[in-house]
């Protein structure tokens, strides 16, 4: 008989560190993605609120038109690049609408629609992708963090902000958006672990759109689902149909309420599909088939919601037409504003590096100023691009 076989012989106090402190079963996600739209409510539960569904619908129709417009702007050279969220409108819009005013949103570069749906000015939101500056809106006033480019690195920020709100006793939750590829990054793991240990009021929404640029999920993970990863951290994982706006909104609302109540973080995996290529610069035909895309088009998030609205007689042709025209007007306004030439101020390059410029930066700013002065002296009259500096420069 070995030591290991001596059952009951080893009973240390306190309990050994291998004993799980959290029962895993309640944390497990459903086997199938949670759905609301088009599902028979056998349990007799209430149908989702009609007003909410209409708000989601209008915002999603506008969102799809916004995505189309932004992609078109890349072809006209008005945006340097655009990562479209066409097909993911349910996630984008539901995320924005599930937030309360005091909550914070932490978007990635693909989540400009979520910021716009929250009410931010699309021209300001697109600043990064237009290239006139790295960022264009007031983060503290909007409670939307800068669009984050390095994958998953915004997740620890969301956790830290949520922790700070918790320490101050504020009823504030943070919602961070990440893609399926981002779940492989170390920062995803570290952020979820910190969130669970701190019991931080944060919700992480993984938009599993099937691909990290070209790499399918099967090459990204061997987990039963991305939502299952939550169990390893000791937080609940929820699996939801990411094209079902009512389901995503419901799950996120529950998770955010839970966070604000002080019951800790939640990981939500929304299963969706990126109908467009990674960006305008990508060629999706190299890694996926038309048949696959067609199958997902048949599960379109806007059509799914529209069917429900029409069945419940919450939407008729006139209302649909009104929503479509509003989306069209918004796109036209965006197009018009983006066709103005921005005039970034070269001297601003030195304006915000530090609170106060170092002597070295002062010298370099003077060098650039002298170059600009020389350049404008040689510029052709009427050339608006040259010598237009001195506007936004800070200290």
């Amino acid at each position: 008989m070995t030591v290991l076989e001596q059952h009951g012989a080893y009973a240390p106090t306190p309990p050994p560190s291998w004993r799980p402190r959290t029962a895993p079963a309640p944390l497990l996600p459903d086997a199938e993605p949670h759905r609301v739209l088009g599902v028979e409510r056998a349990d007799g539960g209430p149908a989702p609120d009609g007003g909410l569904l209409l708000r989601l619908y209008e915002s999603m129709v506008r969102g799809r038109r916004y995505n189309e417009q932004a992609t078109a702007l890349t072809k006209q050279g008005r945006l340097a690049v655009y990562p479209s969220s066409t097909g993911q409108e349910a996630c984008q819009v539901a995320a924005a609408l599930a937030l309360r005013e005091d909550d914070w949103l932490f978007p990635s570069y693909r989540d400009t629609l979520a910021a716009v749906a929250r009410g931010l000015d699309p021209v300001q939101v697109l600043s990064l992708l237009r290239g006139d500056w790295h960022h264009g809106y007031d983060t503290r006033a909007t409670r939307v963090a800068p669009l984050c480019t390095p994958l998953a690195t915004q997740l620890p920020h969301a956790v830290g902000l949520a922790r700070a709100a918790q320490l101050r006793g504020d009823e504030v939750a943070a919602l961070a958006l990440v893609g399926d590829g981002g779940t492989s990054e170390g920062d995803f793991h570290e952020a979820l672990n910190f969130a669970a240990v701190w019991h931080a009021p944060v919700v992480v929404l993984v938009q599993n759109n099937g691909f990290a640029i070209s790499v399918p999920l099967a090459k990204q993970t061997a987990a039963p689902s991305l939502a299952h990863k939550a169990v390893g951290y000791g937080m609940p994982g929820r699996l939801v149909d990411g094209n079902d706006a009512a389901a995503v909104h419901g799950v996120l609302t529950d998770a955010l309420d839970r966070a604000r109540r002080g019951d800790g973080p939640t990981l939500v995996e929304a299963v969706t599909y990126r109908l467009e290529a990674h960006t305008n610069a990508d060629d999706a035909t190299r890694y996926r088939t038309e048949a696959e895309i067609a199958a997902w088009r048949a599960h379109d998030p806007i059509a799914l919601l529209e069917d429900e609205l029409r069945q419940r007689e919450l939407l008729d042709d006139a209302e649909a037409e009104r929503v479509a025209s509003a989306a069209e007007r918004q796109a036209a306004e965006l197009r018009e504003r983006m066709n103005q030439d921005p005039e970034p101020d070269p001297m601003e390059l030195f304006g915000h590096v530090f609170g106060e410029r170092t002597p070295q930066l002062r010298a370099q700013a003077e060098q650039l100023r002298a170059e600009l002065t020389a350049e404008s002296a040689h510029a052709a009259p009427g050339d608006a691009h040259r010598g237009a500096h001195g506007g936004r420069e800070a200290r």
Partner: protein, 355 residues
């Protein structure tokens, strides 16, 4: 042009009325006073709670301010610094501890991609008042990954200040300044000076120059040793030894690597006509290259010899039993001084100090 000389305090001898305090204790006082002065200040890191940090720099802070203000985190440096970014966004003033120089590397992406750029990215909307404390450098017999001089990585990253104290008053004063700064500061603590002592009164800490200012630790006329952090005591000892050779060496302690105090360094080298830069960090593409270039640009017509560097070799940090061959020591500094072309008799640096 004269610069006030701020000599480092010799072990407990400068003022017998003041008790000897170690550099590590002075850092502890700075953290305690910062936590007491501003409720937004939060300390977080690995083992910084009840243990008080592996170097005891956070000793007693969790007990005094609670484990929410001085928090042990999970063991993940990117998570620590990334969380600090979010805390700063919400108005806190985080002070994070990286346990050792080489253990700070996992946090490098957060530092480079976010901490250093957030103010610039947001046009001043989200400044990052974060202090990243990093024990750095060798000379303590540490096994691999416990002795790196990582300052060149930080210096090459625009948007962060890089500060390193070498004296007890600076340990306190510079750390308070770093925590008070609205810009991120990488605060490099020379490990082998943690136990160095000076007479110092925690109840009345003497004011020290702010971030961005160098200090002349020893006035001299023959040549300038430009150094910082762990190499300051080496240079001061070398300067004493050099007197036997007839050299009267000035020693400049940079204190702040970014911003770099070019004026103090250039004024010194213009007085002496010769300069040697001394640091532990590997020489190739190290801080000394930048310093030598700037001295040459600013002082070319005053220089009697090329600016020389005494640095660590361009090798991975050696094992403890071999580290003494790697670290710049007094002999290596004096060898460099001897190569400063003293044969040019007319130089201002040698008129009164010929061999």
């Amino acid at each position: 042009m004269s610069t006030a000389v701020q000599p480092p305090h010799a072990a407990g001898a400068a003022d017998p009325a003041r008790k000897p305090v170690t550099l590590s204790q002075a850092l502890n006082h700075a953290l305690r006073d910062a936590l007491a002065a501003d409720p937004a200040v939060h300390v977080l890191g690995e083992d910084v709670g009840p243990l008080g940090g592996v170097f005891r720099v956070t000793d007693g802070l969790a007990e005094e301010f609670g484990e929410e203000r001085c928090a042990d985190t999970p063991l993940a440096e990117a998570g620590i610094l990334g969380s600090a970014v979010g805390m700063a966004m919400y108005g806190l003033r985080p002070v994070v501890e990286m346990q050792f120089d080489a253990f700070a590397y996992p946090a490098f992406e957060q530092l480079v991609s976010h901490v250093s750029r957030m103010r610039n990215r947001t046009r001043g909307g989200l400044p990052m008042p974060i202090t990243v404390r990093v024990p750095y450098g060798g000379g303590i017999g540490g096994v691999e990954h416990h002795s790196d001089s990582s300052e060149a990585y930080y210096m090459a990253t625009p948007g962060i200040h890089v500060v390193t104290p070498a004296t007890v008053p600076d340990a306190y004063g510079l750390l308070r300044a770093a925590i008070a700064s609205d810009d991120p500061v990488v605060f490099l603590e020379p490990k082998r000076l943690y136990w160095s002592k000076a007479g110092w009164d925690p109840a009345a800490p003497e004011p020290v120059p702010g971030i961005g200012r160098a200090a002349v630790r020893r006035p001299g006329r023959s040549a300038t040793l430009v150094t910082y952090g762990p190499s300051l005591p080496v240079c001061l000892e070398a300067a004493e030894a050099a007197r036997e050779e007839g050299w009267d060496l000035e020693v400049v302690d940079l204190r702040s690597l970014v911003p770099f105090d070019e004026e103090t360094v250039a004024a010194s080298v213009r007085r002496t006509g010769r300069a040697v830069v001394v640091h532990e960090s590997p020489g190739f593409a190290g801080p000394g290259g930048e310093l030598a270039a700037r001295i040459s640009e600013r002082c070319f017509h005053y220089l009697e010899a090329p600016v020389l560097r005494v640095a660590g070799f361009d090798i991975p940090y050696p094992p403890p039993m071999l580290e003494r061959h790697h670290l710049p020591d007094v002999d290596r500094v004096l060898d460099a001084v001897a190569r400063l072309q003293w044969e040019s008799e007319w130089t201002p640096g040698t008129t009164e100090g010929e061999r």
